[in-house]
C-alpha cells in the first residue's frame, strides 16, 4: 500500500514538472522570448529524442543491431507529406499515417531478418535503409531527387506531446513482462526461447514499435523544414541516430534522451564554425568514447542515482 501511494506521489511530481516545462516554453514562444532560431533548436532536439529512444528499444533493449533507422524516418516523412500536401489531409492524421506506414515497414524488415544476428542484421538493415532512399529517389509522384515541398506545421505542442508519448510508451514497455522478454532476448536468445519467449513475436514487436515512433519523428521532421528529399535520409542519418544511442549508453533510456539533447545542442552550437564543424563534432564523439566507453549513462538510469533505494524497496515490501 505504501508503495502504491509512493508511486502516485512520484507520478504527480513528474506530471507537474512536465506541465510546467511545457507551459514555460509555450509562454516563451508566444511572447517572442524564444525566437525562431531557438524554437528550431528545440524542434531538432525533440525529433532526435524520439528517434534515439525508438532505436534504443531495438538496439539497447532487444539487442538487435539495426542501422537502417533513417529508412523508417523517411517512410514517415514521405507518408505524412503525401497526406498533407497531396491529399490535403489534416496534420494529426498525417502523423498517424506516418506511424502506421513505418510499422508496416518495420514488420516487413523484421520478419525476414529475424534469423540474422549482429553484423549480418546490421548489413541487412543498412540495405533496407538504402532501398527506401533509392525507391523514393525514383518515384516521380513524390518528386524524385528534388523531393517534396512541405508546409511548416510542426509546433511546440505537437512536438512535446509526441516526445512525452514516445518516452512514456517505451518506458512502460521496458518495465513490464514484455520488456523483460526483450531484455532476455538481448542477453541470451537460446535461453530466452527455452523460457517460453517467442523470439519471432518479440523481435517483430520491437521493430514495429521502434519503427512506429521513427515514423512519427519523420512526420514532425518533414513538417518542420519546408523541403524533404531522399538525400536527407541516407546512411549518415541512420549512423547519426546510432551514435546517439551508443553515446547515451546501450540499454539506458535516460542516456538516450540525454545524448540526443546534448549532441543536438553541440551540433547547433558548432554551426557557427561551418569549416571545422564536423571535425569538432567527431572530436566530441572520440573524447566521450575514450572517457566514457560505456556511454554517458552506462546501462543505468537517472532514477538509479537519485532514487537508488527504490528497487530495494520493491522487494522488501512484499
Amino acid at each position: 500500500m505504501a508503495q502504491n501511494s509512493d508511486k502516485k506521489r512520484v507520478h504527480f511530481w513528474w506530471l507537474l514538472t512536465l506541465v510546467l516545462f511545457y507551459a514555460l516554453i509555450q509562454a516563451g514562444i508566444s511572447s517572442g522570448l524564444i525566437g525562431g532560431f531557438y524554437e528550431n533548436v528545440l524542434m531538432n532536439i525533440g525529433i532526435y529524442i524520439i528517434l534515439t529512444v525508438s532505436l534504443h528499444l531495438i538496439i539497447g533493449i532487444t539487442g538487435q543491431f539495426s542501422i537502417g533507422h533513417a529508412g523508417f524516418l523517411a517512410i514517415g516523412a514521405y507518408a505524412s507529406a503525401i497526406v498533407t500536401m497531396k491529399l490535403d489531409g489534416p496534420f494529426y492524421l498525417a502523423i498517424i499515417v506516418a506511424g502506421v506506414a513505418a510499422i508496416l515497414a518495420g514488420i516487413i524488415v523484421g520478419l525476414p531478418t529475424l534469423r540474422l544476428k549482429g553484423d549480418y542484421l546490421a548489413i541487412a538493415t543498412l540495405g533496407f535503409g538504402e532501398i527506401v532512399r533509392i525507391v523514393l529517389l525514383n518515384i516521380p509522384y513524390v518528386g524524385g531527387a528534388s523531393g517534396m515541398r512541405v508546409s511548416h506545421m510542426t509546433n511546440w505542442t505537437i512536438l512535446f506531446v509526441a516526445v512525452v508519448a514516445t518516452v512514456w510508451v517505451i518506458y512502460n514497455l521496458t518495465n513490464s513482462a514484455h520488456g523483460r522478454a526483450l531484455l532476455a532476448i538481448r542477453d541470451d536468445e537460446v535461453a530466452a526461447e527455452s523460457m517460453g519467449v517467442n523470439l519471432t513475436y518479440y523481435k517483430v514487436l520491437a521493430f514495429a514499435i521502434g519503427a512506429f515512433f521513427a515514423g512519427i519523428a519523420g512526420a514532425l521532421y518533414a513538417h518542420n523544414f519546408y523541403q524533404i528529399n531522399p538525400s536527407n535520409f541516407g546512411f549518415l542519418k541512420s549512423f547519426e541516430i546510432l551514435v546517439f544511442v551508443v553515446l547515451g549508453g546501450l540499454g539506458s533510456l535516460s542516456g538516450a534522451i540525454l545524448s540526443a539533447t546534448f549532441l543536438s545542442i553541440i551540433n547547433t552550437l558548432l554551426q557557427s564554425f561551418p569549416d571545422i564543424r564536423m571535425i569538432l563534432y567527431s572530436l566530441v564523439l572520440i573524447l566521450v568514447m575514450l572517457y566514457r566507453p560505456q556511454g554517458l549513462m552506462g546501462n543505468k538510469e537517472i532514477t538509479d542515482i537519485r532514487l537508488f533505494s527504490r528497487k530495494a524497496r520493491e522487494v522488501q515490501e512484499r
Binding site: 514497455l173 513482462a177 523483460r180 531484455l183 541470451d188 535461453a191 527455452s194 523460457m195 517460453g196
Partner: protein, 260 residues
C-alpha cells in the same frame, strides 16, 4: 502411473555423423530418471531434441499424449517442459528476480497493450508474478540475492537460479543438464536434496543428465546409459552399476580386463 514422455527410435545425424541413433526411452509421471554416459555420448543432443533445439532426423517424441518432435522451444515450454543448461545460460545482465520473472511470464495473459497503458490486468499479473517469483527464490534459497545481477552470483547460486528459472514456467517435466557440473561434493549433496525437495513440492517428473555416475546412483529411480549415441543399458541403479557394457563404456576395455 502414466507415461509422460516417450521417445521412439529417436535419431539425429549432423551431416554424416550419427550423433544419436534409435534411442527409446520413457518416463512415468513423477519419476526421477537419469541419463548418463561418458563425455560425447550424445546426452545433451538427446536433451536438445527433447527441448526443441534440434529437430530429430527420424523417430518420434511423445509428451503427454501428443507428438512434439519439431515443436519450437518456446511452445514446448508452454506445454510444460522446462530445462536448465549444462553451461549456465542465465540472463546475466538482469537481476535474479527478473531472471525468474522472464520465465514466469508464460503463465500470464496480458498483452503488450496492457503493459504500455498500465491497464488493470497488467498490475494484477505483475503483482502475482512478483510474489510467485519471490516465493520461488525463497524455496531455492536465493531470496537474499533477488536484486543482484545474475552475473554477480556465486557459482552454486547460479546453478540454483537456473533451476528456479525453469520451475517458474510451472513445468510438468523438468530436464536438468548436468546440474552439479563444477560443484564440490558438499554443494552436490545439497543440490541433490534440493532436487528431491522441488520434485515432491511441485509434483514433477525429472530427467537428469549426469556425467558422474556415483552422483546419480543415490537419487535416481531408473538410469539410462548412453554411449556413442546409442542406449547400452537401462534399469535400476544397481542393475546399471553391474552391467558389463556400462563398465566398459566408462572404464574402457583394459580396465574391464583388470576387474575380471
Amino acid at each position: 502411473m502414466s507415461t509422460i514422455l516417450e521417445t521412439k527410435d529417436l535419431s539425429i545425424a549432423f551431416g554424416g555423423l550419427k550423433a544419436v541413433q534409435n534411442v527409446n526411452l520413457y518416463l512415468e509421471h513423477g519419476e526421477l530418471v537419469a541419463l548418463i554416459g561418458p563425455n560425447g555420448a550424445g546426452k545433451t543432443t538427446v536433451f536438445n531434441m527433447l527441448t526443441g533445439v534440434y529437430v530429430p532426423t527420424s523417430g518420434a517424441i511423445i509428451f503427454d499424449g501428443q507428438r512434439i518432435d519439431g515443436t519450437p522451444p518456446d511452445r514446448l515450454t508452454r506445454l510444460g517442459i522446462a530445462r536448465t543448461f549444462q553451461n549456465i545460460r542465465l540472463f546475466h545482465d538482469l537481476t535474479v528476480l527478473d531472471n525468474v520473472r522472464v520465465a514466469y511470464q508464460v503463465n500470464t495473459h496480458h498483452t503488450f497493450i496492457d503493459s504500455i497503458f498500465r491497464l488493470p490486468r497488467f498490475w494484477k499479473e505483475e503483482n502475482d508474478m512478483r510474489d510467485a517469483s519471490l516465493g520461488l527464490l525463497e524455496t531455492m534459497g536465493l531470496r537474499q540475492f533477488a536484486e543482484e545481477k545474475a552475473r554477480n552470483l556465486p557459482y552454486g547460486a547460479q546453478r540454483r537460479l537456473e533451476i528456479a528459472r525453469a520451475l517458474a514456467t510451472r513445468p510438468k517435466l523438468l530436464l536438468l543438464d548436468e546440474p552439479a557440473a563444477g560443484m564440490n561434493p558438499q554443494e552436490t549433496r545439497e543440490l541433490m536434496h534440493t532436487i528431491e525437495h522441488v520434485r515432491k513440492t511441485f509434483d514433477l517428473t525429472v530427467l537428469l543428465i549426469e556425467h558422474d555416475m556415483s552422483l546419480v546412483m543415490g537419487i535416481s529411480e531408473r538410469i539410462y546409459v548412453l554411449d556413442h549415441g546409442q542406449l547400452i543399458a537401462a534399469g535400476s541403479p544397481a542393475e546399471v552399476r553391474s552391467n558389463p557394457r556400462v563398465i566398459e563404456a566408462y572404464l574402457g576395455e583394459v580396465a574391464t580386463d583388470a576387474l575380471a
